[in-house]
């Protein structure tokens, strides 16, 4: 934290609300009239009289109880004369002149009074006291602001009011507020962070959809575009290929079958790539022709989607990252964090509270245990160590083998189902319903297979990791990483097999090779993603309501250990996070081929919230792992960023390298999608082109690069200087503390000595006096 911040923070603290606390907060805080007896017994009490301890706001009375003329300190401390006087009496002589208050400044104006009043709320004093302060401030004479200042202040006041109004309205409209509170009450803030994350993703998808709708779907609908369906000219020309594709009659599948497969009537709608036109629309406003280049806007929307997502992720991650940076040596304060931030004040459920007690207890024990384990670790013999390492190595090998075999399995299943489907295509004389169902099954086989792996394999990972004897935190992390690999890998295999299908050699005289490529492979790819998302969503429903819900009923209804083992579930955050991020990755991957995916994801995530809420509140019992909100938040973002990169690479490869299909979509007839952008760029005015060319020359790039490096170096230097400063200040603080301790000890010793000598003197006096008395008496 920089120095400036600190000053700002201190300002409200050091205001002199001296009298404020006096009557109301007499929590036996020692003050000037502390019994000297106490002081002499315990020097610690002396310490509470130190000025540094007095600087905090109104927790206790000031030492100087006499001066009643004290006014509240204004924004800068220099104006509070009384303060400075008492503090600097020793050097009063030379500073007095400069300490004299500037009279014109001392009179407050409306604005500063208002600011004062706004600041009262930060004080830890009861309402009655605050109200008195406010009255006092209001009754004080103040200057009216003039001219522009007045305007500025008025505007600020109005803005403040407006802001709080908007905030209030917003909080009323806020989605799922009640649900969040309920979850928070039962599971604590760490789990709520997850639900906020779902909401965040939903909003993100909605924004993406809005853009896609405005710039791609809406124009297409508005211009009511009809494809040219006549084939004139060469057979393999784009026109003829399109005609062939669009005139093709789709199999008369039932409505429902088409809906879940994204085929039939759905294929030729705005939902999929194939429907979009490759033309530049022309329309007239006041009889001047205007153009709308749909293909170009199609590419741009893809770029914008990725940019917006990246921006949103970075913005959310940066917030968490900043917090982590402030935490600095994060682990450093683990015990303090546990004790002072351990309790979730939002918890309002007795059962949860009991579990929370238990969880905190466990974590405390775990931490202490961990210390011992660390020690043990160092004492581990060489033999044990090698054994453990070999074991870990073997387990990692097993994990790799499992991952690889899953991948291979997905690949073969995909190939298998495609081959079968081809047979279906060639022989369409199957009995109607059965054939359709069979076809549906094979269509969904790859997706089912992937989902199945995603379900089962993590269990084995979870078992394997227990053998490896990692620390609990690391266990969560490594299972998470393995599961991510599993998910991404099966997706990757799917992509690869898609690519193999798409990228087969094309003879010049055909529109598509019926041996491998589908007629419009982009739509085909879109359908795959469409199906994947639907399957994934369906499994969530099935698992939550048909599998886990009965399990939880079993666990609740009987108390036996077996039932507990079968039925009891904890809300395992990492797993559920992966579920949502998986959907998002699919959206990023598929949006280019099926623009409707983002809208679908918005809706599905909306329902996902309720599914997960059900899984959380009804199926699971609070676990004894404490999830910290900030830590889980940064975890979400890191995984999401992983999914983002995973989606980015194949998509951009496809855009820049793969040949678009000839018969459909906005890029038919081009070599790559990207060439559309280049073509459009070539049409721009020459100065734009010149600027872009200039930017790409060395003359611009090298200085810019150097400049960036310098900037980087500058920030790095500032950072390291601040770090150094922090350590210096910390050391100084420690030294001061020791000095203080030393002086206090000395002082108390001195007081004690003095007292003893006094007592001795008194004693001798009394002796003498009594001796005198006796003398008198004897006389």
């Amino acid at each position: 934290m920089s120095g400036g911040d600190k000053n700002k923070k201190k300002a409200p603290h050091s205001q002199g609300w001296e009298e404020a606390g006096a009557e109301f907060y007499q929590e036996s805080y020692p003050s000037n009239d502390v019994d000297f007896e106490v002081l002499q017994r315990d020097p610690k009490h002396l310490a509470t009289l130190l000025p540094s301890k007095q600087s905090r706001a109104a927790t206790f009375k000031r030492i100087r109880g006499t001066d009643n003329t004290r006014t509240f300190r204004r924004q800068t401390s220099s104006r509070s004369r009384q303060e400075s006087f008492t503090r600097r009496t020793s050097t009063l002589g030379d500073v007095q002149v400069s300490m004299l208050p500037d009279l014109s400044e001392n009179l407050s104006n409306e604005q500063s009074t208002w600011e004062e009043i706004m600041r009262i709320k930060a004080l830890p004093v009861p309402m009655a006291e605050k109200r008195e302060m406010k009255l006092k401030l209001q009754s004080e004479p103040n200057l009216r602001l003039q001219g522009y200042e007045q305007f500025k202040w008025k505007r600020r006041k109005i803005l403040d009011k407006f802001r709080s109004n908007v905030k209030e309205k917003y909080s009323k409209l806020e989605l799922w507020k009640g649900e969040m509170k309920k979850i928070e009450g039962n599971f604590g803030t760490g789990v709520v962070a997850y639900f906020l994350f779902i909401k965040w993703l939903m909003v993100l998808n909605f924004c993406i959809f809005l853009l896609i709708f405005l710039f791609i779907i809406l124009p297409t609908i508005l211009f009511n575009y009809e494809e040219e369906l006549t084939c004139t000219g060469e057979l393999n020309s784009t026109q003829c290929c399109s005609a062939q594709y669009y005139n093709q009659s789709f199999s008369s599948d039932s409505f429902f079958l088409s809906l879940v497969q994204g085929r039939g009537w759905m294929e030729k709608t705005v939902m999929f790539y194939g429907y979009y036109s490759d033309r530049t629309f022309e329309y007239f406003i006041n009889s001047t022709p205007m153009y709308y280049n749909l293909p170009f806007s199609y590419v741009c929307m893809l770029l914008v989607m990725f940019l917006i997502s990246l921006f949103a992720i970075i913005k959310a991650a940066a917030k968490g990252f900043k917090e982590r940076l402030i935490e600095g040596e994060g682990q450093f304060y683990q015990y303090c964090n546990l004790v002072f931030n351990g309790w979730d004040f939002c918890i309002d459920n007795e059962k949860t509270a009991a579990i929370k007690h238990k969880a905190i207890y466990n974590e405390i024990k775990g931490l202490l245990e961990n210390e011992r384990i660390q020690e043990e670790k160092q004492n581990r013999t060489r033999e044990e160590k090698t054994k453990l390492y070999i074991l870990r190595f073997i387990i990692n090998l097993i994990v790799l083998v499992v991952l690889a075999s899953c991948g291979i399995a997905v690949y073969f299943v995909f190939e298998f189902s495609q081959n079968i489907l081809k047979q279906f295509d060639s022989s369409e004389n199957n009995s109607y319903l059965l054939g359709n169902l069979k076809e549906l099954f094979y269509e969904y086989l790859p997706s089912l297979c992937i989902v199945l792996f995603n379900l089962l394999v993590p269990f084995s990972f979870r078992y394997l990791v227990t053998l490896e004897k990692y620390s609990p935190l690391f266990v969560i992390r490594i299972t998470l990483i393995r599961t991510i690999f599993l998910r991404l890998m099966s997706l990757g295999i799917l992509l690869a097999s898609l690519y193999l299908r798409v990228n087969c050699e094309l003879k010049d005289d055909v529109c598509y090779s019926s041996q491998c490529t589908p007629q419009c492979w982009e739509t085909y790819a879109g359908q795959q993603f469409f199906k994947l998302i639907i399957t994934d969503f369906a499994t969530h429903i099935i698992i939550t309501f048909l599998l886990n819900f009965p399990r939880s009923i079993i666990a609740q209804s009987s108390n036996s250990k077996v039932a507990k083992f079968i039925g009891e579930q904890h809300f395992e955050l990492p797993k559920h996070v992966l579920d949502v991020i998986y959907i998002q990755t699919l959206v990023w991957l598929g949006s280019f081929y099926a623009p409707i995916l983002s809208a679908m994801a918005t809706i599905l995530l909306f329902f996902m919230f309720y599914i997960k809420k059900f899984a959380c509140l009804i199926n699971s019992v609070p676990g004894n792992i404490i999830y910290h909100a900030s830590r889980s938040n940064s975890m979400f973002m890191i995984i999401l960023l992983g999914g983002y990169t995973f989606a980015l690479i194949p998509i951009f490869y496809a855009i820049s390298e793969v040949l678009p299909s000839k018969s459909c979509g906005p890029f038919r007839g081009l070599n790559t999608v990207w060439s559309k952008v280049i073509n459009t760029f070539n049409l721009t005015p020459s100065w734009v082109q010149n600027i872009v060319y200039f930017i790409s020359t060395a003359g611009f790039a090298i200085p810019a690069f150097l400049f960036l490096i310098l900037l980087l170096y500058y920030y790095w230097a500032i950072n390291s200087a601040n770090r150094h400063m922090v350590s210096v200040l910390k050391n100084q603080l420690m030294l001061e503390g020791h000095d203080k301790q030393f002086l206090l000890d000395r002082l108390s010793m001195f007081i004690r000595q003095q007292q003893e000598s006094q007592r001795k003197m008194r004693h001798t006096e009394i002796m003498r006096a009594s001796g005198g008395d006796r003398n008198v008496a004897s006389n």
Partner: protein, 189 residues
Amino acid sequence: MGQGKSQFSEEELQDYEDLTYFTKKEVLQNSTSSAHHKFKNLAPEKVGHNKNAKLPMSKILHLTELKVNPFGERICKVFSSGNDGDCTFEDFLDMMSVFSEAAPKSVKAEHAFRIFDFDGDDMLGTSDLQQIIKKLIGDNELSKNNMQRLIQNILDEADLDDDGALSFAEFEHIINKSSDFLNVFRIRL
């Protein structure tokens, strides 16, 4: 706004808005999520005809968040203007204001410190820490040895001046470095 408004004058409401982190509506509204509604629900028969009725601590602790909170009694005591744990509506409003989302970290830290400071000596000493930990773990028992080690670890981490207790400055330092504090030290209306 209905019968709620009749209990408070416009002036009082303005005061409440200026002096807490709430808006007028959050202080007083007929919906279920207002501070006064919550307060009234704790003892409808008392607050019904006397808006500033003083509720005994046992009543305040009926608020579910406070009931299960191990520091519930401490919270009542810290915010009670009579220091005995009994709260008027204004005390309650103060409490809710500090726990609201709008209150800044420094204000929350100040109150957290006072809540944790059981013996009121303006330092979190060993006995304070011990009480905090005992309240945190509830019915579970921590062995004497472990308790000592835990306290020692806390002091090792945070007691910069080695005086065997945490001062407010040291406490604030911890709070500033912890990103969870704002999430945790909060009660929704």
